[in-house]
């Protein structure tokens, strides 16, 4: 009887799908009376590169702030690998590596001091942190800048350090909010390629917010956010096919235009 029960349990476990890397369900948010997000729902699958595409002011950064628990989710729920951010913020945040839109390095500290500080905020001992920092800085070809003040780095170099920092505690999900804004073409391409490489070779899940259509690949997953609402969600190639367009740029233009027209129609 017990054996049967444990077998059933094992079967049930096998049948139960693993939770998504990120699951956003019916999330709304407002600053006072200003509604920024309305009933936003989507998932980021494990080991996938998911793009959050939206114009400036679409609500991308607010959504990021909710996912990072900087703001509380008052309406809806956000789960990271099954851990709800409001109820288990510690478990959820341990699985998150975050690169914010604006620079968040302490400019008066050295690269090493910035990274050691981040490691301590994740409870990583100095010895182990130094090892990880050495490896990661080598990979981004910045080992020689270890002792330099963050202030002396270029924009692209700062971004690389921020990515190293986001990976230091070995998170399975990486969030990047407009990570290539303000960078030159080569730095943008390098950073995007490195992040895509993480997905392809290491199975890390990435949630990449951008307003630049040329950063979207046909094989990516896409969440199209416009005026606080999700207009489309799925594989880019599927969205392009379903809208009857030839590329994601046209799909984006079509969907946002029709959403704006629809909203305008309602107003009338």
């Amino acid at each position: 009887m017990e054996e049967g029960s444990s077998m059933q349990h094992a079967e049930a476990n096998e049948a139960m799908p693993l939770p998504a890397a990120l699951d956003v369900s019916a999330v709304s948010h407002a600053y006072g009376r200003k509604h920024v997000l309305s009933d936003v729902s989507f998932s980021v699958a494990r080991g996938r590169f998911t793009v959050l595409l939206g114009l400036n002011g679409a609500g991308k950064t607010t959504l990021f702030s909710l996912i990072c628990h900087l703001y509380n989710t008052r309406h809806g729920s956000i789960r990271i690998f099954g851990h709800e951010i409001s109820r288990q913020p510690g478990q959820a945040l341990r699985r998150l590596g975050i690169v914010f839109q604006s620079r968040t390095l302490d400019l008066d500290l050295s690269v090493e001091q910035n990274l050691l500080y981040h490691a301590s905020l994740h409870g990583i001992a100095r010895l182990e942190a130094r090892e990880r920092i050495g490896t990661l800085l080598g990979q981004v070809e910045m080992s020689d800048r270890l002792r330099d003040k963050a202030r002396s780095l270029s924009g692209g170099q700062m971004r690389r350090i921020e990515i190293v920092r986001a990976l230091l505690h070995r998170p399975p999900l990486l969030l990047l909010d407009e990570a290539t804004v303000g960078l030159d073409i080569q730095s943008r391409a390098d950073i995007l390629a490195a992040i895509r490489n993480l997905v392809a070779n290491q199975g890390i899940s990435v949630f990449w917010a951008t307003h630049l259509i040329d950063e979207v690949d046909d094989d990516d997953d896409l969440v199209l956010l416009h005026q606080g609402k999700v207009l489309a969600n799925g594989r880019v190639s599927d969205i392009v096919a379903s809208t009857g367009t030839v590329n994601v740029g046209q799909s984006f233009a079509l969907l946002t235009r029709s959403a704006s027209t629809h909203r305008g129609g309602h107003k009338e």
Binding site: V36, C68, Q91, F100
Partner: protein, 290 residues
């Protein structure tokens, strides 16, 4: 840029990781204190200006007022004292007050520059992060007070030797109260530019409407209303706690008021910085450029 290495736990994720143990909490605490210390060392002018301010009061203001203001024998003093001796605890309080507000300024700066977000997205509990930051700020402030007391010793302000040790808990408690107040204020200040308001509406009124410069009985003689304001000012109790501790005594009322204020201000700051209750998510500046 060569391919980045993978975290070795990437495939996992769904399983509960063991809760942080004492060692991890200690690592986090040390990291926050170490960063504050580094920031302080990197800003030497901050250290110098924190010392120059009370020393000017001691060398110039107190010397000038020595002849004007007589201080009768009041506890904890057992003899007539010079005015310099009287205002020294108040000047220690001044260092703590400015340092507390400085930490408030640095939190607003961190928030504007985005550094605050790296702290707030740590998986450690928010209250622990804020308390660690509070301790870091207090440690830096106490260091400044001891340097000031050492200089004051050469100026003839010489409390009993044991007083230098006994005053440490009083400095720690007063520093915590004022840093917690600074932290609470930082949650309410939207922009760095608003810090001038803190100077005018918090630091100066707190300092002048207290027992830092004049004994309370003298204030009562000149203005009963001002005396009542001084009694309602938590800074008065911080100064008296330091004054008595410096002479090896405990002023119980001051101790209780300071401890109650720590709980109140720190509780308020934790409330304000907690995303589930806080004030921050109702506006668009914390998380950045929402």
């Amino acid at each position: 840029m060569t391919p980045l290495p993978a975290p070795d736990t990437m495939a996992a994720g769904a399983h509960d990781e063991p809760a942080f143990g004492f060692a991890q909490y200690l690592i986090c605490f040390r990291g926050i204190v170490f960063r504050e210390a580094l920031r302080f060392l990197n800003q030497r002018e901050r250290f110098v200006s924190a010392l120059v301010r009370p020393l000017l009061w001691l060398f110039i203001f107190a010397a000038g007022f020595r002849q004007v203001l007589g201080v009768s024998i009041i506890p904890p003093y057992k003899t007539y004292i010079l005015y310099e001796v009287y205002i020294t605890p108040g000047l220690c309080g001044m260092i703590l007050l400015f340092s507390g507000m400085q930490s408030s300024l640095s939190m607003v700066y961190d928030r504007e520059m985005g550094n605050m977000r790296t702290l707030l997205v740590s998986p450690f509990p928010r209250w622990f992060l804020l308390v660690s930051k509070l301790f870091a700020g207090v440690a830096v402030a106490i260091l400044q007070v001891y340097v000031f007391l050492a200089i004051a010793w050469f100026w003839g302000v010489r409390p009993p030797l044991a007083g230098y040790l006994l005053v440490l808990p009083a400095l720690a408690l007063s520093g915590m109260m004022l840093c917690a107040l600074g932290m609470l204020l930082s949650s309410m200040i939207k922009q760095l530019e608003s810090f001038a308001g803190i100077m005018n509406f918090v630091i100066f009124p707190m300092y002048f409407a207290s027992s830092a410069l004049y004994p309370l009985w003298r204030i009562q003689e000149s203005s009963p209303l001002l005396h009542k304001i001084c009694l309602a000012n938590p800074f008065t109790y911080a100064v008296e706690l330091i004054r008595f501790a410096l002479y090896g005594q405990i002023e119980l009322t001051s101790l209780l008021v300071v401890m109650a204020c720590i709980l109140l201000f720190l509780g308020g700051a934790i409330y304000a910085y907690d995303p589930s209750n806080g004030l921050l998510s109702r506006r668009q500046d914390t998380g950045g450029n929402a």
